[in-house]
């Protein structure tokens, strides 16, 4: 890999895009259209899991659309010519960087659009934009390589999502988890207790969760004595195995059945520790670096065709 080569190839991609403007415009249209369709169905999104899922689904398909033309924009003759001028690794790096640039713009614009139409649940905007940009690098690394593979095959339009979707799942698991952390500065946990199917969905704000051991009930081994802050009463609540380290208020959502509260989700108003952020962002960067290295190894071997 040669930095001056990468610089020239990157500026070539950039200038071509500025001349055509088809790539960026189609992605913008995609993002605005999908968020608008979601807006037609839902006015304001308040459930964190749905906010999270919809946001990343839009990003995923916008990015696959964006990367679909990475190698097909160049005709076969142009590719041969480029291969004579530069090392394949530089070509891949330049394409990856360009895709990362495009995808970060898509991500940030999607975030703006999404906040406008469907509401914003994120508390720390800077950290979330950093997450979008780190994710864009990772997506670009994976999608450029899969596009290089699929552009050589026939039926490449439908092949690209098939090849890249399973490979992107590791990213999405980390992204979804970290977004859950960043939403409203609350920690989100999800539980499903079968015994809580009856009754109305209620929400209580409580503090002082005291763990108790339940010897009668084998399946749900621990329950908590929660102090309801509004009614000043104590309640028995099943919330699963969670460590409550701070004394800050906790919002429990769930159903009450025979005097016992079964939580379906917990909102912990704790500040997210820096260590957990470092862990998730670090994992993303690590995966991206490994994917880039694998791409550097593999791409020269398939660039010949």
């Amino acid at each position: 890999m040669n930095f001056s080569e990468v610089k020239y190839l990157f500026s070539k991609e950039f200038q071509l895009e500025l001349r055509r403007k088809s790539g960026i415009n189609s992605i913008l249209l995609f993002v605005v259209a999908t968020t608008f369709v979601s807006f037609l169905a839902i006015d304001q999104l308040e459930q964190a899991p749905i906010w999270n899922a919809l946001f990343w689904i839009i990003i995923l398909f916008a990015n696959i659309n964006a990367a679909n033309n990475t190698f097909r924009n160049d005709s076969e003759n142009t590719q041969l010519y480029l291969n004579q001028l530069a090392h394949p690794n530089s070509i891949l790096i330049a394409k990856t960087l360009y895709n990362a640039f495009l995808m970060s713009i898509t991500g940030v614009l999607n975030y703006l659009c999404y906040s406008l139409f469907l509401g914003n649940l994120i508390s720390n905007h800077l950290l979330f934009i950093a997450l979008i940009i780190v994710a864009a690098l990772g997506f670009a690394a994976v999608l450029s390589l899969t596009n290089a593979i699929s552009s050589k095959a026939s039926f490449n339009n439908s092949l690209m999502p098939i090849l890249s979707l399973p490979l992107l799942v590791p990213f999405f698991i980390i992204l979804v988890a970290q977004t859950n952390h960043l939403i409203g500065n609350k920690e989100y946990h999800d539980f499903n207790y079968s015994s809580a199917r009856e009754g109305m969905e209620t929400e209580i704000i409580c503090s002082n969760l005291i763990a108790q051991n339940d010897s009668n009930n084998q399946k749900e081994q621990t329950y908590f004595l929660a102090t309801d802050l509004q009614q000043k009463t104590r309640k028995v609540a099943y919330v699963g195995d969670i460590n409550f380290e701070n004394n800050q208020p906790i919002i429990l959502k769930g159903k009450e059945y025979k005097g016992i509260f079964y939580a379906s989700s917990i909102w912990n108003k704790a500040n997210i520790s820096a260590i957990s952020n470092v862990k998730y962002y670090g994992a993303l960067v690590l995966i991206t670096i490994i994917v880039l290295l694998v791409g550097q190894f593999l791409f020269p071997k398939i660039a010949k065709f």
Binding site: N156, P166, V294
Partner: protein, 220 residues
């Protein structure tokens, strides 16, 4: 790989695993009870899948080095058999999960990892069917194979460290260390692992030889 001795070892180990695994006494553990015998079947199937997929990736690397279609055929055969063992492991795990966790597919990092492994290799087979030219097919699928295996390794290496799992040994559940002290279990388990791996290698070996002969007939 055409010698007889390792096949005999495989048969002996498998007969021992299947027969003695069902006959032996197992520790009566809470909620697990007799389902703990799944340790002899479910866990080694995953090990076998990983070994077969690793060999498939290594043959992909060899193909990239030597550019001989023979290695590509072997690589694909190993991926096929590896996928088959993955599905077997998935089904045994689902059955076991129904009776111990109460659900066929709870959300668990290892289950997600396994499902993705199988999905990735399905994508690999689709890629192979989408390319007509043999040389091109071989090198593209070898590249995807290597990439897929690296992603799989990252996934199984990084993700389970970020979250808790329901599986034994994670998230406060008793792990294999505590089972190891029980000689009744380890006596079968340590025979089951090489037994299943050898069986997987045998199937993949037969399959790759069959594919090589088919390719030879086709080229005549």
């Amino acid at each position: 790989m055409r010698q007889l001795w390792w096949k005999i070892i495989c048969i002996v180990l498998m007969v021992y695993t299947v027969a003695y695994g069902l006959l032996t006494d197992v520790p009566a553990l809470h909620t697990l009870h007799e389902t703990i015998r799944n340790l002899f079947y479910h866990v080694p199937m995953w090990f076998t899948m990983f070994v077969l997929l690793l060999i498939s990736m290594i043959y992909g690397l060899i193909y990239m080095k030597k550019r001989d279609l023979k290695y590509d055929t072997i690589s694909t055969a190993f991926a096929h058999v590896g996928c088959f063992f993955g599905i077997l492991g998935f089904v045994t795990g689902m059955l076991w999960g129904k009776y111990t966790w109460g659900s066929y597919l709870p959300k668990d990092p290892k289950i997600i990892g396994a499902a993705i492994a199988i999905l990735i290799y399905f994508a690999y087979f689709i890629l192979r069917s989408a390319v007509n030219d043999e040389e091109k097919k071989a090198s593209l699928s070898a590249a995807y194979n290597i990439f897929a295996f690296v992603m799989l390794m990252i996934f199984t290496g990084v993700y389970p460290r970020l979250v808790d799992s329901l599986h034994p040994g994670n998230g406060g559940n008793p792990g294999f260390d505590s089972y190891d002290r029980d000689t009744r279990l380890s006596a079968v388990f340590y025979a089951a692992v090489p037994g299943w791996i050898l069986l997987g290698l045998w199937i993949a070996n037969v399959r790759s030889r069959m594919d090589l002969i088919n390719a030879k007939i086709k080229n005549k």
